[in-house]
Symmetry: C2
Subunit: 497 residues, 2 copies
């Protein structure tokens, strides 16, 4: 692929000035149009060392309004970044609607440097590139425009530029040690780069190979490609094209379910106060030491609490947390998204909260809101929540691949028990703040929620992140059951028993 | 101070349970009230190693709604943090209105570990603590409640606890190497800690020494103090107390100025196109290598561009940036604050954008908006903008102490020239987006802005961050003058000439 590229193309100064004069004006116009149309744009620059990337990027930036873009220079990870899956670094940097995020090197380079090496097993390569492809496809599905450039130069040109850089005394920025012994790099990386370009040249985020021996030619090609990509994207939006085949296939998949897992939940379970106290004490003792074992083994843990209003999510979480070291856990209550969150892919806010290695994130409600409240209340489109099952499974797969333990609870109470608890909240002074008109409104839609919950439990119970449904009419039983599942899962996964 | 503290106090389990039952309910209530009243709260925990801090903090957290607080555990800085002034780490973490930020160790511990040592010169200690005091006073002035705890234990208790920890096999979290040789620590740090507590026990953010040999006693004291502090703060707000003496003194200071620096600007300066091209080229060449020298020396640089609408800020910035390496500079256009920004102290958004060592942040408008547009348009209170002169000078002092170069430009055009440029924008197709009704509205208030600009230039021109007023009726002159000042300042400060 790369070896057949004609690198002799060039553009003279005079022609360059003429051409880019127009291109610059057009870029400014299109930036403003995309902004108005709320299109989020990601521009990726990859390429060989000394491919002139910084020069090309700076020329590319000049016509753009700095208010509308953010440039990210991707270097070596800082310690915090090393404690999270690779793609986390980039999820946290996706632009809001209408804005542009530009990546001076990206997830590709980091995947090559941190996860792959020449001769990596086909399976690892595939797994790694799959993770990147999920990322890009999820964003594209959400309306993001992704433009990817690979700046290609010849080995000779590279050597020539190294000499220049040395002569000028320019400090090498962002250079990792292993990248520094540049001599043998080009040939060593070529086959891996070829594979990367082939495997990730996908329909919704294709690569553009940019011949970069000549800086003028490269700049013009980058500008033109960028312009064409936005124009094409705008056309797609304005044409209001019918749902693509892929998407309709997804919608097909999500047809009514004829079975219910919820209905099979055993609701008759309960514990006496004494049993409760005793068992709770024992599990908490286990948990206290398990958290340090987690830390030692560097495993991140995610606990998800979903359940009906007043099913005891908060209470269960507090009983768990009371024994834990606050340096190791964090409770993340999830409510309606803020404006900042609404302007981005809905998974963004959750990527922002995933735990570091050895730490625990406890979610009081979670990303499952997409297929529960957002579905039932019509806060997202049909297409969006139907798509979400796959997105969520992929999200959890990426985290699991990194070593994250994901434990998910649905706390299940019946309608009568909920009514009883609502009434109690209304009449107890220091609990009144817990009950709002929304709670009553949600209750009226019990059946619709039940359908959504059932579909969620079935479509997102995976081998790597299964749901546990807890019959929670009895608080004592419910709390102990949660503790038990957490403790037993940790013991099994950490191999301490 | 510390040595006289009676550490024998303790509370038995039964009494503890009774006491904290009530305290917990009260904490929840007060959190909700402070939330409603938009009071931002910062709680600082400092103390000896093994003072039981994590246990006390976890008990303290339990009654609080996790939706309303954020816990920050302060450990060793990551590389990015090491590239910025110490206080930056904490400025970026201040809570929005109504929320609580809790610090498990804070700027105090980091100041001790990173900047001070036994026998540090009195001057350095003072400078360091001044920086911390600015931070707290600026927040307190803005309505923040700051509650600081020092958990105090005896040397004997510390040793006893080290033994326990060892026996239980709990991994030491967040421990820096030098902290690890705990043996001689207590006595070595005692005098420095004493000095710290004395110097920073200030009216608006006093220390509470918490006797922590007994965990129950410590927890109760922490809860009670927290409750009293919020109650006191709420009383202050509800009493609508008169402006304090300190504040009225500040307002006094800000009386009308009888002189104008603006009026003395030479507006007759201009350059021919040829002179412009030639000089620009020469300065850009200098700048190109100076940026790498900056990087080598690790100096951060801030360029501030203020000026009338259409005075050429954007154009000047583009001419500067075109030669720079995009990995080393960033343009930060400042417009109306977002909701997230409005919910915090106004300097927060600017602390978020300060450059790392060796990097350049170019501000297209800046924190000076507080004393310009916010003053003139009544977007903040009188008291707030009057207070801002001191806040800004302190902000720039803190950055300068860290080694930051601050270069500030006021681009000055006269009223006729502005009219001319507005008209041109209206009639040139690709410039029309640059002119908005707001521009005409601001123009109507020219005289009020002039007064504000004059006061700003006089009150915030400091020896460490002086203003340069540039007569900008002629764009060629203006752009070259900006380049010249930047290049000459860098040469002088980097000692390359």
């Amino acid at each position: 692929m790369l070896e057949k590229v004609d690198l002799s193309k060039s553009i003279q100064k005079k022609e360059y000035d003429d051409l880019t004069g127009e291109l610059r004006v057009r870029m400014g116009e299109l930036q403003r149009r995309a902004w108005k149309l709320d299109i989020p744009i990601m521009v990726v620059f990859e390429g060989w060392h000394a491919s002139g990337m910084t020069g090309i990027i700076n020329r590319f930036l000049m016509p753009l309004n700095p208010m509308g873009f953010e440039l990210y220079t991707t270097g070596n990870p800082c310690p915090q970044e090393e404690q999270k899956p690779l793609i986390w670094r980039f999820w946290t940097k996706i632009p809001p609607k209408g804005k542009i995020a530009i990546f001076d090197r990206s997830w590709y380079r980091r995947a090559l440097l941190e996860h792959l090496h020449e001769g990596a097993a086909e399976e690892d390569v595939t797994k790694c590139f799959n993770g990147l492809a999920y990322f890009e496809r999820q964003l594209a599905d959400d309306g993001y425009l992704i433009v990817k450039f690979f700046l290609h130069i010849s080995k000779e040109k590279q050597e020539e530029r190294y000499e220049e850089i040395k002569k000028k005394g320019i400090p090498l920025l962002l250079v990792k040690e292993e990248e520094n012994d540049s001599a043998s790099k080009y040939e060593r990386y070529l086959p891996l780069v070829e594979r990367m370009l082939e495997k990730t040249d996908i329909q919704h985020a294709p690569w553009t190979i940019v011949e970069s021996d000549d800086l003028n030619f490269a700049t013009v090609k980058v500008m033109q490609t960028f312009i064409q990509s936005i124009e094409e994207k705008i056309r797609t939006i304005e044409d209001k094209r019918p749902v693509s085949e892929l998407q309709s296939a997804q919608m097909q998949a999500s047809r009514p379910l004829n079975s219910s897992v919820l209905k099979t939940t055993d609701m008759g379970v309960s514990l006496s106060r004494e049993e409760y106290k005793e068992k709770k004490k024992a599990y908490l003792k286990d948990l206290e030491s398990l958290q340090y074992e987690l830390f030692r083994q560097g495993r991140p843990v995610i606990l998800v609490f979903e359940g009906w209003d007043a099913s005891g999510k908060g209470g269960s979480i507090r009983r768990l947390a009371q024994i834990m070291n606050p340096r190791l856990y964090k409770v993340i209550p999830v409510s309606a998204p803020s404006d900042t969150e609404l302007a981005r892919h809905y998974l963004w806010r959750f990527y922002n909260e995933i735990p570091e290695a050895g730490h625990v994130s406890i979610f009081d409600r979670s990303w499952y809101g997409r297929v529960l409240v957002e579905r039932v209340e019509g806060l997202c489109s049909d297409q969006e929540w139907r798509r979400a099952y796959r997105e969520i499974n992929e999200f959890e797969e990426v985290l699991t691949n990194y070593g994250t333990l994901i434990i998910k609870f649905w706390l299940h109470i019946d309608k009568e028990e909920q009514l009883h608890r609502f009434r109690e909240r209304e009449t107890t002074a220091h609990k009144q703040w817990k009950i709002t008109p929304d709670d009553w409104k949600n209750r009226d839609k019990w059946d619709m929620y039940e359908e959504a919950v059932d579909e969620m439990l079935q479509r997102t119970s995976t081998t790597y992140a299964p749901w546990t449904i807890v019959g929670s009419n009895d608080k004592f039983y419910s709390r102990v059951r949660v503790l038990q599942v957490v403790v037993e899962t940790l013991e099994r996964e950490l191999k301490v028993k």
